[in-house]
Symmetry: C2
């Protein structure tokens, strides 16, 4: 996987622009965990100096979706198994309550927005753009947090979603290829009915489903990243 694109992009990119672009690329699994994000490479691509690129990378590092190793450079993060567990545990703690709050505050406009999200998600899926579908699926959760009028929680969930995308890239098991859009659909209905209790319950079970669709068996924690790399070739 390489970062080099055919044409260099407009030079008006700011640090946030770049961070968002990278974040989205990671969300959509166009950048795999472990991919090196070279400063020169990125500054060439976006037509800015390394200074800007560095602040963008630092921003992503704070969200723990990029890991910066001193004198080595920046890499797309590879959350350990333990971190993966933790991320979903926190989400299971935060998001159900947030869904409840969202149900109480939801306006018809909000519901329309969520339905539009679902539509786009389906469209992306049908078009075979599974990365984009995953991205939209994350945005769906974020939108609910935003509706709950809890910016602080929304911020936290935002980074947890980003990390979840990495976790899915690393630990998703193909066997359980169940599409999750039914769950989202049911959630919309509950929120649209201002049914807080049901929304909370649905969100909870939705997250548990997701969590259990991950391949989180015990692996030796030491050098797990290396092992993860090797396991791919070891099966056949």
């Amino acid at each position: 996987m390489t970062l080099t694109t055919a044409k260099s992009v407009a030079a008006n990119a700011t640090a946030n622009t770049i961070a968002q672009a990278l974040s989205r690329a990671i969300h959509e699994h166009r950048l795999a965990p472990g991919t090196k994000l070279g400063e020169d490479e990125l500054s060439d691509i976006y037509g800015v100096s390394r200074t800007i690129v560095r602040t963008a990378l630092q921003s992503l590092a704070h969200q723990q979706i990029v890991e910066i190793k001193r004198n080595r450079g920046a890499f797309v993060a590879q959350p350990s198994l333990a971190k993966a567990q933790e991320v979903f545990e926190v989400r299971e703690l935060l998001e159900p309550r947030t869904a409840r709050a969202a149900a109480l505050h939801a306006t018809p406009a909000d519901i329309a927005l969520l339905k539009d999200h679902i539509t786009q998600e389906h469209a992306a899926m049908d078009a075979g753009e599974s990365g984009r579908a995953l991205y939209l699926s994350g945005k769906f959760h974020l939108e609910i947090a935003r509706m709950a009028k809890q910016q602080t929680i929304a911020d936290i969930i935002n980074v947890l979603i980003a990390r979840s995308s990495l976790i899915i890239a690393l630990y998703w098991r193909r066997e359980s290829a169940l599409c999750e859009s039914q769950a989202h659909h049911a959630l919309i209905n509950a929120i649209g009915d201002n049914n807080g209790a049901l929304s909370e319950e649905l969100m909870q079970s939705h997250l548990v489903d997701l969590h259990s669709a991950l391949n989180l068996k015990e692996l030796p924690a030491v050098e797990q990243d290396l092992r993860a790399m090797l396991l791919g070739d070891a099966k056949p």
Copy 2:
């Protein structure tokens, strides 16, 4: 309030060093909300280039304890009333469950550590170092999160504690000068007894107490910073 110190500190400071130093100063209320953190000033103090200072400030900005205004500089953040509410609501959502988990994992060594924290806290209080006492009080909460073996939650709580310190600086009402160490003491006992349910309950009520000790009445949000500055001189 000025940042200038008599002697410049050793030049071996790294970005993390500076970020931690500033974070702690904010924790301990030596740096008031709204204080400007000039890049040149800081680079003089710590004997490094502005580059290092900038990454430190960006790090703090990501934790929202510093606000960077474009072309204006970095300032110690001034959480709005709404944000203050939100921060404590999230803490009330996260920390009780975390205290429960901590109670299950707690070892005698952990308990000893917590008791030591309390001792230091009392000592600081008796010495009139209320800032340091507040800092230690925050560390106490963080230590519990660490004991729960949930690094992800601990990270989140860590920044929420930092923000809480700012909120206390802005919205604490003197009337309710109740010292909170009793609450901490009771918590230690519950955790030491591995009593998860009680720990959760105590943490919950402790946070509610804190929350209600804040002066969160409606204030004109516009130019609230300036108002806060002026109110200090208006009393006598």
